[in-house]
């Protein structure tokens, strides 16, 4: 009895203590509009992260960096309100107005359960 149980118990233990690649730092894994993409009629930007974020630590900003006829102007802040997803791993920026044609950069930073503050930025274009 015990003998027949041992291998499966050992297998279960091995599974349980398998390394979990502890690098649990928060990363941005997807967004709409996606990084580097061109989109139209953008009324919201959604962000998906690899880990749960601690809401109080999240900082985001969306700036317009270029518009037709005016490449590379000083960044202009775009107003929005933000909402966390139910899973704690996603967030939606609800824009006050649909984005006008131009280039935009979104930057975010936040800490997850591992307490390390991480962040990155990406750009997309609206036509």
């Amino acid at each position: 009895m015990l003998k027949s149980l041992l291998p499966s118990a050992a297998a279960a233990l091995a599974l349980l203590v398998a390394p979990v690649a502890a690098s649990a730092h928060t990363r941005l894994i997807a967004s709409t509009p996606a990084a580097g993409s061109t989109a139209s009629k953008v009324t919201s930007v959604s962000l998906h992260f690899s880990e749960k974020l601690i809401p109080a630590t999240i900082k985001t900003s969306l700036v317009m960096t270029a518009m037709p006829g005016m490449a590379d102007h000083p960044p202009m802040k775009i107003p929005y309100s933000s909402a966390m997803g139910k899973d704690g791993k996603s967030m939606t920026l609800l824009l006050k107005r649909p984005l006008a044609a131009g280039s935009y950069t979104l930057s975010w930073s936040a800490a997850g359960a591992d307490t390390h503050r991480m962040g990155s930025e990406f750009s997309f274009t609206v036509k």
């Binding site: 398998a18 979990v20 502890a22 730092h25 601690i54 109080a56 630590t57 800490a111 503050r117 962040g119």
Partner: protein, 319 residues
């Protein structure tokens, strides 16, 4: 390289909380009920407990403030009360901090009555100390592991730290018992110390086995045997290697204490009791030297852990 302030506070907290738990546990397993009530033996331990609890509360609050500020991406002075509260409420680290503070406050309050009821209060201090030490599991790699694996990792981490606390507390307690601060310890104290060293050998062996076993589990969780080479190329793996070397040094010293220095002290005390020999200053001095080196190695391990516990095991992203 992480934030040096955060690492310094982590080290101080590990040392402080482990000493609270380990020093309070010592009289419970190494001294008899009568000896526990004798002020010349335990007063120093009780006084140390009070300071350690007060320091632990302050350090822990400072640590939470610095951590919250770094999670917010601002300096400590720029942190406002509202976002501090939010982070404490929303994060596991914050919850762990609340439990730690409650445990330390309870321990500090209880320590007022330690002379009147040494045994129950020492038990309470040891338990509160272990709770406080356990909460530190949420500030390392174990805190970030999710799901069932995370629970196992945290339990293993807590048991690892509890065993370390008992060991470190015992070293500190023996140093306090044999401390030459106000002249040599009286012969009776030396005799009791020799006895408790004897009694510690069982507890010490359990601690060492527990530390080794849970250490292996934690290592497997964070690195994994098959990734060992990759981690040794990173600062994390090198820190771990240094930690293992220091652990081996502590083991060698503990073995010397147990099989050579403690019997020598016991024999010297017996000769002194029989009136054959004067006071065993040499045996005491040898033991004290060995204990001081062992304590230094223990603190070096805590400093290492405070540092490499904040690193990516494979040297991935910079922190």
């Amino acid at each position: 390289m992480g934030d040096p302030v955060l690492i310094g506070i982590r080290f101080a907290l590990y040392a402080d909380l482990m000493l609270i738990a380990g020093l309070a546990a010592f009289p419970l397993y190494a001294l008899t009920r009568q000896d526990r009530a004798r002020p010349e033996l335990t007063d120093r331990i009780w006084r140390a407990e009070r300071w350690l609890c007060a320091a632990g509360l302050l350090l822990s609050a400072l640590g939470m403030g610095v951590l919250a500020a770094s999670m917010q991406g601002v300096g400590l002075l720029a942190l406002d009360a509202q976002s501090f509260q939010d982070i404490v409420r929303q994060s596991d680290v914050g919850t762990a901090w609340l439990y730690r503070s409650a445990a330390l406050a309870a321990a500090l309050a209880a320590s007022i009555w330690i002379r009147r009821w040494p045994t129950p209060v020492a038990a309470l201090l040891a338990a509160a100390g272990l709770v406080a030490v356990g909460t530190l599991a949420w500030s390392g790699h174990a805190g970030a592991t999710e799901g069932a694996t995370g629970a196992i990792h945290r339990i293993s981490d807590i048991v690892h730290m509890a065993a370390a606390a008992v060991w470190i507390g015992a070293i500190a307690a023996f140093l306090l018992l044999l401390s030459p601060r106000r002249g040599d310890p009286p012969p009776e104290t030396v005799a009791i110390a020799a006895h408790s060293l004897d009694r510690f050998s069982v507890v010490g062996t359990i601690c060492v086995l527990t530390i080794a076993g849970t250490g292996l589990i934690n290592g497997q969780m964070i690195i994994g045997a098959e990734n060992l080479g990759r981690s040794l190329a990173a600062p994390y793996g090198q820190g771990l290697l240094a930690k293992l070397a220091l652990f081996a040094l502590m083991l060698a010293l503990a073995a010397a204490n147990r099989w050579r220095l403690t019997p020598a002290l016991g024999a010297a005390v017996a000769r002194m009791d029989a009136g054959d020999d004067p006071y065993p200053s040499e045996a005491i001095a040898a033991l004290r030297r060995s204990l001081i080196v062992e304590a230094a190695a223990a603190f070096a391990i805590l400093a290492l852990v405070a540092w490499f516990g904040t690193l990516d095991p494979f040297g991935g992203e910079a922190m």
